[in-house]
């Protein structure tokens, strides 16, 4: 299988990206504030649901069952969408998906499209691919707009501009809105309400006149052919209902077997994601609703490779709620860009190397971008055991050479107890010479930890000398 494209450069390994991010105190402040707020909110609405554990178990089981019968449900979905007047396209990789979408847009004769926030289209780099074909894609989610205007990259699954504060957003709007359409008002302040109003005015005209829209979907129901999109702002509804042609790019893992399954996921997702009992808007449509032309592009792009992995396939259960990002101590300090993929945080650390393969230094470093504290597993609404997958992936990534050398040396020492005893005696005598920081490449370990003090004598020596404390 060829290398899967995930829309982002994979040049530097995670520790180097992270080291740069943690030096950015503004970023750390923004992230800390945002993740703490959302964490508290999620905890309170989850505590409110008396059957949360049962919902989580059902969510896990439904997704697991779907994945294990994915071929059957994909064919059923295709039949149902087609029967309802929609068109279904299959894309094995990013390039093919982009080609299909560009072709569909060109067939309408339009050169501008509006977009609902979608991870799948970011993953395949659709906006850039469309631009090469002379088609401009306008992001309409407020956070995506901030990212697009700022020529920036998203850093969070649900709140892509989480790394920006209001002053930065005001600057981006004032400077760049005019290049994309209606300029920001002269007297724009950094009040969130004023910034939201500027976005509303900037985008409204575009919504009213654009004839083609591109979306993703949170869920696709095999039984009925129904697509489901959850959102907050109404930009999703604008894109899904006003344009004449709607193209939805959807990963093959988004399918759910039956209409009834929504009763589980419409409870799990909003509470886990934004910490709300329900998100402001959910739209569902089946085929060509209200006379629209509807195209569904089913995307593989590495997903079947993940599906083949016994331990790792559970990552495909992910419903992109971002709860794992918001509790992760590593994400909270490094932000999303350090992960070098559209999927950041703990889920990104297991999904990206599986989708993309472990060919680059970055992808090999991602399974190590975790303290394995397990908080991500605790909050995951579909119970993805992220720590186990991380450990499994680590076993496949070649460890750094100092670590391998150290482990080989330790193995040699522990092999015979005489070797260990001699080394312990030598250590006890030379204990004053042990440095606080390990030399060379081993220093990375002591940068964040204190080296334990070497005792004067070993336990065995103490036992021999005192007969277990009786002498």
């Amino acid at each position: 299988m060829s290398v899967t494209f995930l829309g982002m450069p994979a040049d530097r390994p995670f520790p180097r990206n992270a080291a740069r991010a943690v030096r950015d105190s503004q970023l750390r402040f923004n992230l800390r504030k945002a993740t703490r707020t959302i964490r508290a909110r999620r905890a309170s609405v989850v505590a409110e649901a008396p059957d949360w554990a049962e919902l989580r178990e059902a969510g896990r089981a439904i997704k697991e069952h779907t994945l294990r019968n994915l071929d059957r449900y994909l064919v059923q979905l295709e039949e149902a969408v087609t029967a309802a007047g929609g068109h279904v396209h299959w894309a094995a990789g990013a390039a093919e998906a982009n080609r299909i979408v560009a072709g569909l847009v060109k067939a309408t004769g339009e050169t501008e499209v509006v977009k609902v926030k979608s991870m799948a289209t970011q993953e395949i780099g659709l906006n850039e691919a469309l631009l090469e074909q002379g088609i401009t894609a306008y992001e309409t989610d407020l956070a995506e707009l901030i990212v697009q205007l700022g020529d920036d990259r998203p850093s969070h699954i649900v709140v892509p501009a989480i790394h920006r504060n209001r002053a930065e957003i005001r600057e981006i709007f004032a400077e760049h809105m005019s290049g994309w359409g209606r300029p920001a008002p002269e007297d724009l302040t950094d009040e969130p309400a004023a910034l939201a109003e500027a976005a509303r005015l900037h985008l409204r005209e575009r919504f009213l006149k654009t004839k083609v829209a591109i979306s993703g979907a949170n869920f696709a129901i095999a039984e009925t052919g129904t697509m489901v999109v959850l959102e907050s702002e109404g930009n999703g509804r604008m894109c899904l209902t006003l344009p004449r042609t709607l193209i939805s790019v959807v990963g093959i893992e988004k399918v759910l077997p039956s209409w009834r399954d929504l009763e589980v996921f419409l409870q799990l997702l909003p509470r886990s994601s934004t910490g709300e009992r329900m998100n402001p808007y959910t739209s569902t449509w089946t085929g060509a609703a209200e006379g629209q032309e509807f195209h569904l592009v089913l995307l593989d792009n590495g997903r079947t490779r993940v599906l083949a992995d016994e331990v790792g396939r559970q990552a495909l259960r992910c419903i992109r709620c971002s709860a794992c990002l918001n509790v992760c101590p590593v994400y909270e300090r490094t932000g999303g860009h350090a992960y070098g993929s559209v999927y950041p945080g703990p889920i990104g650390a297991i999904l990206t190397p599986q989708l993309r393969g472990m060919g680059s230094e970055l992808d090999r470093s991602l399974p190590y971008a975790s303290s394995l504290c397990g908080a991500c597993y605790e909050v995951c609404p579909v119970a993805i055991d992220i720590p186990s997958v991380l450990v499994d992936l680590r076993s496949r990534a070649r460890h750094p050479w100092p670590e391998r050398a150290g482990m080989a040396a330790a193995g040699w020492v522990f092999e015979r107890h005489g070797r260990l005893a001699r080394l312990q005696r030598a250590g006890g005598r030379l204990r004053r010479l042990v440095p606080r920081r390990l030399p060379g490449p081993l220093g990375g370990w002591t940068d964040t930890r204190d080296l334990p003090e070497v005792p004067r004598e070993s336990f065995r020596e103490w036992w021999d000398r005192t007969d277990g404390g009786r002498r």
Binding site: A34, A161, A196, E233, N235, E263, V264, T286
Partner: protein, 203 residues
């Protein structure tokens, strides 16, 4: 080989020999119990929507007062909205027949609708484009949405709503006014959808 066949073949290869997994549904499913008006009212208000509880006889008066309070002059009234509920003096009822353009919708002062189902636990209204609700754009482009909910339409929780709704119809689930939390996670009402949502619960 088409991409369709390629993907399905890859899926089948990946799943060869993998045992199936059962689904247990031990969570609260649909209940026979009706949704509580009090809880629904409280949950809708939590989203900073405006809520009133009225008797059937009081609906028209309440609608009129709400529209007057906003200084509304032109309001979209979808086909099938009970005429007895709309008797606001000095307010023009605009019909969506023939269908209004998006620009026309942008120029009206608001829209009044009924709904298909409402969910007490989450404070949600669901529209299914049935009588009194109109097509999806009607409750989206105007800046003000007044929705009349009959007590019998209020169900307890999400599973009750899913069970009552028809997936063949396009559905819009609305929980409070349009909102964003993208700027430092401060909630701001009204980005692209209606900035004001007003709910009349008919006892």
């Amino acid at each position: 080989m088409s991409s369709r066949d390629l993907i399905l073949a890859r899926v089948r290869r990946a799943l060869a020999g993998v045992p199936d997994a059962g689904i247990t549904r031990a969570y609260r499913g649909p209940s026979a119990a009706p949704g509580e008006i009090r809880l629904y009212e409280e949950r809708v208000r939590d989203y900073r929507a405006v809520v009133h509880v009225v008797d059937e006889a009081g609906v028209a008066g309440r609608v009129a007062r709400s529209l007057a309070g906003r200084g509304a002059r032109r309001i979209v009234v979808p086909g099938g909205f009970p005429p007895r509920w709309f008797a606001a003096e000095g307010v023009e009822a605009v019909a969506d027949d023939p269908p209004l353009s998006a620009a026309d919708l942008d120029a009206v002062d608001g829209v009044v609708t009924t709904c298909a189902v409402a969910i007490a636990e989450t404070g949600t209204i669901v529209l299914d484009t049935g009588p009194g609700q109109g097509r999806r754009a009607l409750t989206l482009v105007p800046d003000y949405h007044l929705c009349v909910v009959r007590a019998a339409q209020i169900v307890a929780a999400v599973p009750d709503a899913v069970a009552r709704l028809d997936p063949a119809r396009p559905l819009t689930w609305i929980s409070g006014p349009s909102a964003t939390s993208d700027i430092e996670l401060n909630r701001v009402e009204g980005v692209h959808g209606p900035r004001t949502l007003e709910v009349l619960i008919v006892r």
